[in-house]
Symmetry: C2
Subunit: 299 residues, 2 copies
């Protein structure tokens, strides 16, 4: 287990897996590298492909089963990856006693934004003696660097859109509402709420198709880490699908938070962007200095 | 013309009419009260019913025709009402010479938000010697007062949602992106961009239907005047349709900016809210003091 970056003991790392392809990608990569891991599949969210590994499938309120599995496998380090689409449906489950001890914290966090909910979950794990690490610590290649990722440069005409988007996404993040915005010209045309990034970009495609954005071409998707966001458990994420949606919406490119964004299947993502003629840029990670002016361009 | 609040001369007031029912409602009300007016119907937006009055139908770039009509009818006062769904499609029209003189200002404003565009238009009108008045000055009954509009009180459990919504809508407005947000619990689940308020509430209904908002019931629509918004030409607007959408999305009520919001067909709007069991409240108009705590409640 010499390659395990966070746990030299040989004890397996638990991948607590929500939906989407990030957990699948991470598990495959860890298996390829011979790292010891187990998977906690969140029912209703985790990809069934993860059942190929040593795993348990749990509801978020079945903490006793979760705890037993952790102890049984000797897990001391966990990583939380993937999306949790629905809020835990407390009414439908009969929570176990372990869960009931923590239920106050969960219920308190449920009414707030995603960050509060995740902070409560991470706090519970840490109180239970587990170390929580980010997926990017287990696979650094998952993270977008600062700078151009593909071969398409940022057109000069899109720099102002990026700057407007950075300001808007920072504000949006401070509300704990979402991570992403779409800017056309200097106009913020869409802001992400509970619908998620892909649905928001689809909306932009529809608005453009019916002429609600005027004739202005281009535009950018800007996706940033929220100010209160714990990137160990909830990094902004893009992937090939993000690029496809952005291309369908007629955007000129995508700007993400450098060193603070997961890129799912980077090779496929960059290839999709290059093929569609979209730029893909990681902005400087310092949120204060975030500006398109620091990034590469075509000038 | 003793009833004309802004122009005692007997000269007609021009209603510059975008889409929706506000211009129709205003024209009908002015006709009922025997006030002199003419209608400038914006092609593609204005309701055809307005052609029943003395009118001209123009494209936004046909300023010479517009100016000629104004001079011919002796108009000195205008009001701009209704929505302009598409941005002016400059490429498709052959602008006249009068328009060309102003085109720089329009093009400059097109890339920005709605406020900038409207400020440019209002500036052009005022430079041309026209007085721009708000629809609410012509018909005070169109404006939401501060306080409860219907018979349903604000439930105590929704007050925190209103407060969260006021903070989020204020922030959103400062970005000049939109006027409205939906908050469920203390979570901002949707923010209005170019799609408009109705489409945003429909999205919330869809998200709720597929379980993306969890099991939490209720929620509020908060719609506020943007900090930079000129209420003479672009007041936040609600109407019976807003209430129907909000009810379909399972919201508990609607909070608007008191004395700064147009209520289209107030009788029908209030009746729809009462029938659906939704509260409808005008918040105090002072944006600094905006808080649900100052409004009426059921306690």
């Amino acid at each position: 287990m010499a390659g395990a970056p966070e746990d030299g003991s040989g004890a397996p790392i638990a991948i607590i897996a929500g939906g989407g392809q990030v957990p699948v990608h991470l598990a495959r990569s860890m298996a390829d590298r011979g790292l010891a891991f187990v998977v906690v599949m969140l029912k209703g969210d985790a990809d069934p492909a993860l059942a190929a590994y040593d795993h348990i499938a749990v509801n978020p309120v079945e903490l006793a089963r979760f705890k037993h599995f952790m102890l049984d496998r000797g897990v001391r380090t966990v990583t939380l990856v993937g999306s949790v689409r629905g809020r835990p449906d407390i009414g439908r489950f009969r929570p176990d006693w372990t869960t009931l001890r923590f239920i106050g914290r969960i219920v308190g966090a449920l009414g707030r934004g995603d960050d509060a909910l995740l902070r409560a979950v991470v706090g519970m794990m840490e109180d239970g003696g587990l170390k929580v690490v980010g997926a990017h610590e287990l696979e650094p290649d998952l993270v977008a660097p600062a700078g151009l990722l593909g071969s398409v440069a940022v057109p000069k005409g899109q720099r102002a859109s990026i700057d407007t988007g950075v300001a808007a996404a920072t504000t949006l993040g401070a509300l704990d509402a979402g991570q992403a915005v779409v800017v056309v010209g200097r106009r913020v045309v869409a802001l992400e709420g509970a619908e998620g990034t892909d649905a928001m970009i689809e909306r932009v495609a529809q608005l453009r198709a019916i002429g609600r954005l005027g004739r202005k071409k281009g535009g950018v998707l800007v996706k940033l880490r929220k100010p209160g966001q714990d990137i160990r458990v909830d990094m902004p994420t893009i992937g090939p699908q993000t690029v496809r949606h952005a291309a369908a919406a007629g955007l000129a490119g995508i700007a993400v938070h450098g060193e603070n964004t997961l890129v799912m299947d980077r090779a496929a993502t960059v290839e999709a962007a290059d093929r569609a003629g979209l730029f893909l840029v990681g902005l400087t990670p310092d949120p204060v200095a975030l500006t398109s002016g620091e990034g590469p361009d075509d000038g």
